[in-house]
């Protein structure tokens, strides 16, 4: 498991998945990252910092946005 810092670049409240710019990736973002359901949708706004937990570092679907901040 790995914790990675990122920035929210998009959010689909229907699927509750986010597009996240992980730290170190200037140009390309990771799409479709599940967001913890205990985070209110209104808080997942573009530009906010976030923390992504990768259960499997190699599988973007096996991850969750644990927190948003700032």
């Amino acid at each position: 498991m790995e914790l990675v810092k990122g920035v929210v670049r998009g959010f689909d409240s229907a699927s509750y998945r986010a597009t996240v710019q992980l730290a170190g990736s200037l140009a390309v973002w990771l799409e479709g990252v599940p967001v913890a359901r205990n985070i209110p949708a209104a808080q997942v706004t573009v530009g906010r910092g976030c923390v992504v937990l990768f259960f499997d570092e190699a599988n973007p679907r096996d991850a969750v946005v644990l927190a948003v901040y700032e």
Binding site: A23, G24, V28, W29, L30, A58, R61
Partner: protein, 647 residues
Amino acid sequence: MRFLPPALADAQRSLSAVPYLEVTLSQRRAGVARAAFQRLYSGGEPAGPHAAALAGDGSLLRARIAGGQLYYQRVPSPGPGAPFASWTPLTSAQQSVALAALGSQVLLAYVAADGSVAVRESQDYGASFGAAVAVLPSAAGARHLALALKGGEALLAYASPSQVAVVRRTGGSWGSLSAWPHSLGSISGLACHYGGDYDLLVTGEEASGRAGVWTVVFGDGYRQASGTWSPLREVQRADAGSGVSFAAPCLSAPDLYRLAFVESYSGSQPYARLQLSHLAPDIDFADNWWREPLPSDITGSYGVAMASAPGVLWLSSTDGVWRADLSAAVLDVSGSVLALEMEEVPWGGRLRLQLVDDAALSGPNGPLQPGAEVAVSLGYLTADGPLASPAPRHWLTAVEVRSEGGRRMATLEAVSAWGLLGAWRARRQFAWAAGERNVFAILSFLWARAGIPFTTVSYSQAAVDLRPAFTVQPGQSGLEAVRRLLAMVPDVVLLSQNYALLKHPLDTETPVYTYGNDHPVLAAVARRSPPVANRVQVYGQGAFAEAFLWEDVDRSGERLLQVHDLNVASAAQAADRALWEARRLRLSLVSEEVTVPTNCAQELYDVVTVTEPSLGLTAARRRVLSIRTSYDARRGLYRQRLGLGAP
């Protein structure tokens, strides 16, 4: 095992054979010459659209547009001090200009003042041109042009704001337009080169705003059916809103396909920087496996044009000319080798060489520079003369020169292709959705990013069928990514000369060599150690399976390895994965180590038979899990230690 000529096989089985090593150095990476550009001209011309080509007589042809005027230049003997500042105004033009040359034929295309596209042709290496021929009307909306020539045929490619189309000239007549079936939001640049098909490079943005560099092939029957278009294939991308965009692509093939484009960033610390890349060796343009683009200190939003001949690559902008010699001379240092230690192991490998040095070798401009490619061939003096078999290539990481008692000696440290893969780090997120690419294709992509061609000696069905969701995190090394990917399949990777090779190690494999009878075993060690784990549990998406190494569970108790992978979506997949993990555990166990006279053709993961009475081995099948080759000219030593395990 590598090819072993009979005379070499006879020699290496003899205890009295004379060692023969070939060691060469060159400024290459996986056989591809490093392009070290030397700037030959710095002028004051304003930035703008430009083009370049190299005519068959070696003349460098350049064209540029400034202030609505098309300027042209032909430098018959390009080199330091050549008249790169001398331009001839030709006609009024705008937007874009393109040049292509083949032998004495040269084509010059430009967007005329009225928006139409005109082409002029030269049959004397660009010394003079015929009258302009209008090929496209202004209604075509051409913004970017590219030209390619093949014997007796020409192709003009153009990009309107969002479309690419081509028109061919055969038998002296321009044909009808063929528009691509793709759609982009906007196109910022276009390049084309003929390589069996018409190969194009496009920069721009998708309708969603995602920027990219793509290749696309207009077929001429090599990899793409004649007159048809391939899919767009991504070389580089930047998501909408990231502030990163791409433009000014160019393409050439002096030795293999090389490309360049400008990457611009509009955020804090903005830049517009040239990026250079090349295909992995022996890979077709249509396969689209490019080395990680290398940033260049050449800046400017119009980028460069490429012009080339075999062994030489030119870059040209409106105000600059650069030249790179791609001959990458090979320096033979075989006669200077004092000692060699070469280690071939899974996921690694290194080389340590000691050479008699003179100032010419290790001087500031000498060939002993970090990054240089070292090619070692192991051999013997045989009845047919000196024969040698090429070992995997290495690349220098350190050079140490020692002077003692008036004698100079250089010690070279080098890494194998695994070291190059480990040095490559993802500078962005790479992600493949489930079903998008199979394991082999993702492995090929990752090895190509490090500049290493990847192919197979054998492969499992899983390497072809499994199309996992997979990502490489920014900052992660290629080695880490490849390890994670290989964990999903039963295959292994070995190195052979410039190549990384996928192999499916079957326990039914036929032995390829015999030690202990004809080929003597000089020393032998048996080792008993438990595997890292002897029980594997695989947890997938609603699927679970286990595998055991029962012989070890009985002997040393249970040690558990758990695998969690959401790509495992069925009980059958889980069972397969558990079996592969168990097999991997067995393959990692070295049970014996034998010392033998060097077998010049031995490769990692070969299955061999070993007869060594002291260890109770009689024609025992074993897999080679490590190879450590030692040569010391001063001690007359030339041996290999082979780590062996279950087949």
